[in-house]
Symmetry: C2
Subunit: 318 residues, 2 copies
């Protein structure tokens, strides 16, 4: 079936110290096939007339269910040995949004964020209350043991010994340089109706303390969508996206400053972030279907698919 109009899905699986020299061929191939699979799931929806929201949910669910990525199943451990997950979603058509943070029992936090958007009067729910809301809404609830993966546990133990806190993969690769990379995940899409949507999901920081909240569950920081401008999902050191309102800032530079998508995203990641010492990247798509994926780290797991059905996946700098 030939789709009626242009559509685009862009995804990421985290940015950071991702070097070809510390990657094995088999792990690289696992990443490529996992990203391709997430793109395919979104494509099969977009190409048959589903919405950008549906595609974003499907792509992120696929990445959350995959232990390779620091989101859902593959979430990292806090200093107390818990898995605490964050996710958010935004609908560019209605500017409605939903998010959950520091949840411990929701199998797919992105689906709970969607329920917050569609079935509550609120935007942000956190902690045990958000877990209860998701359960009340019929989201799949799992035991904390579902999120246990040996490699994340070993990573926590190593960081505790080294008294380090690791975002995504930087500290680990500094410690080990052995190719175990993690990552926040995200997806942005434009559907054939011209609607934009954005979603982001993460397992946070390994060995994080004190109920730290990053940018992923904060609308405008790690995630934003507006049909007037663009849809954006961010990855990197969350604190810099929180302080710059990174995701919304790309939209604001377009709406008020007249910048194009690539120019606005470039300015955030390669100028504003450099000025405040921030590291990370983002994926974005505008209402014309233009896409951009800038990052100022060594690599970012990323991929794009459009109406031609050809998935393009990349990991390192080009």
């Amino acid at each position: 079936m030939k789709p009626a109009a242009k559509f685009v899905l862009v995804i990421h699986g985290g940015a950071g110290t991702i070097l070809k020299s510390s990657m094995t061929p088999s792990l690289e191939s696992e990443y490529i096939s996992s990203l391709t699979q997430a793109l395919s799931q979104g494509y099969s929806l977009l190409s048959t007339g589903s919405t950008s929201l549906d595609a974003v949910l499907a792509a992120i669910k696929s990445l959350e269910d995959n232990p390779l990525f620091n989101a859902g199943k593959g979430a990292v451990f806090t200093s107390e040995g818990f898995n605490e997950l964050d996710a958010s979603i935004m609908d560019g058509k209605t500017l409605k949004a939903g998010s959950v943070s520091c949840v411990r029992t929701i199998k797919n936090p992105i689906l709970a964020a969607y329920k917050v958007m569609t079935s509550s009067d609120h935007v942000m729910l956190m902690g045990e209350g958000a877990d209860r809301f998701a359960k009340d809404q019929g989201c799949e609830i799992v035991d904390q043991s579902y999120f246990f993966t040996q490699k994340r546990w070993d990573h926590l133990e190593k960081l505790k010994k080294a008294k380090l806190m690791a975002l995504d993969h930087n500290a680990e690769s500094t410690l080990e340089k052995n190719g175990k990379k993690f990552g926040t995940v995200g997806a942005v899409a434009l559907d054939i109706y011209g609607n934009l949507a954005a979603g982001t999901s993460t397992g946070g920081l390994t060995n994080k303390k004190y109920g730290r909240v990053g940018d992923s569950p904060v609308i405008g920081a790690g995630n934003y969508a507006n049909n007037k401008t663009c849809a954006v999902s961010c990855t990197g050191t969350g604190e810099y996206f929180l302080r710059t309102l990174g995701a919304y800032d790309v939209s604001a530079m377009m709406e008020y400053g007249g910048l194009g998508l690539a120019e606005a995203a470039e300015k955030l990641i390669h100028k504003k972030f450099i000025e405040i010492g921030g590291d990370g990247g983002l994926i974005a798509v505008d209402r014309e279907g233009n896409a951009t994926m800038p990052f100022n780290t060594e690599g970012m797991y990323r991929g794009i698919i459009t109406e031609d059905g050809e998935a393009k996946v990349s990991i390192y700098k080009e």
Copy 2:
């Protein structure tokens, strides 16, 4: 002592259904003297060369310690009978920021938010972890009973019976029309060095469930400061500020769109908010010392003081 240069402090104690017809003269006088006292405390700092951050902290601490306002001592109750408080602060000079959300044992959440900004690598801490961080940092810790006030408890009981959730004061005044008004609090300031700062603190929604987070602890939503543009603190239905990134949006309209402070704030509150059905208000000051206090509700507790030392306090529409 005559200060060397221009300075301004603007505060608010919440916006909502605040009608002269449902206010008693003695309660009105209590509000006016409480707002005046908070302004005076900030003034005594700014006029003797202290920074805008110091003045914002002092003014908000004064409002947090006052049971009239829904922040600190006067915080409302959640559906489970807890007091859960949120606060945030931002330094316009460094663009550093800190916030705490859903904390239960910190006497002055604004001081804990300041500690997050100055003594942690993070921007947002939440829940029990944030309480622990504040304790570790030497913030004053109190028992939940410190936050007990009979009128807030009675309010919870009434709303539970009516199965309502109340933001600030709207639902209560709809229920009662008896002049018991609550309010998020906030302060923005420009000091003699040209530095802007903003702070916001709240006790949230009466009868709130599910760990709902509003705009007050979210940088860019309920609070923002940037020496390039302005300092902003918001009050109203938090969900609309979360979706519009209200506080940052005023700054973005100035920086990218070339709007003046009053024009940008007006556009947010009287145009964008009306379009999405949002209610609330904000206070803001720019780097020239211009101030604005727009709201689209019946009233907003507010006040301003500048280098002439004359406190101007208002409650209703003018």
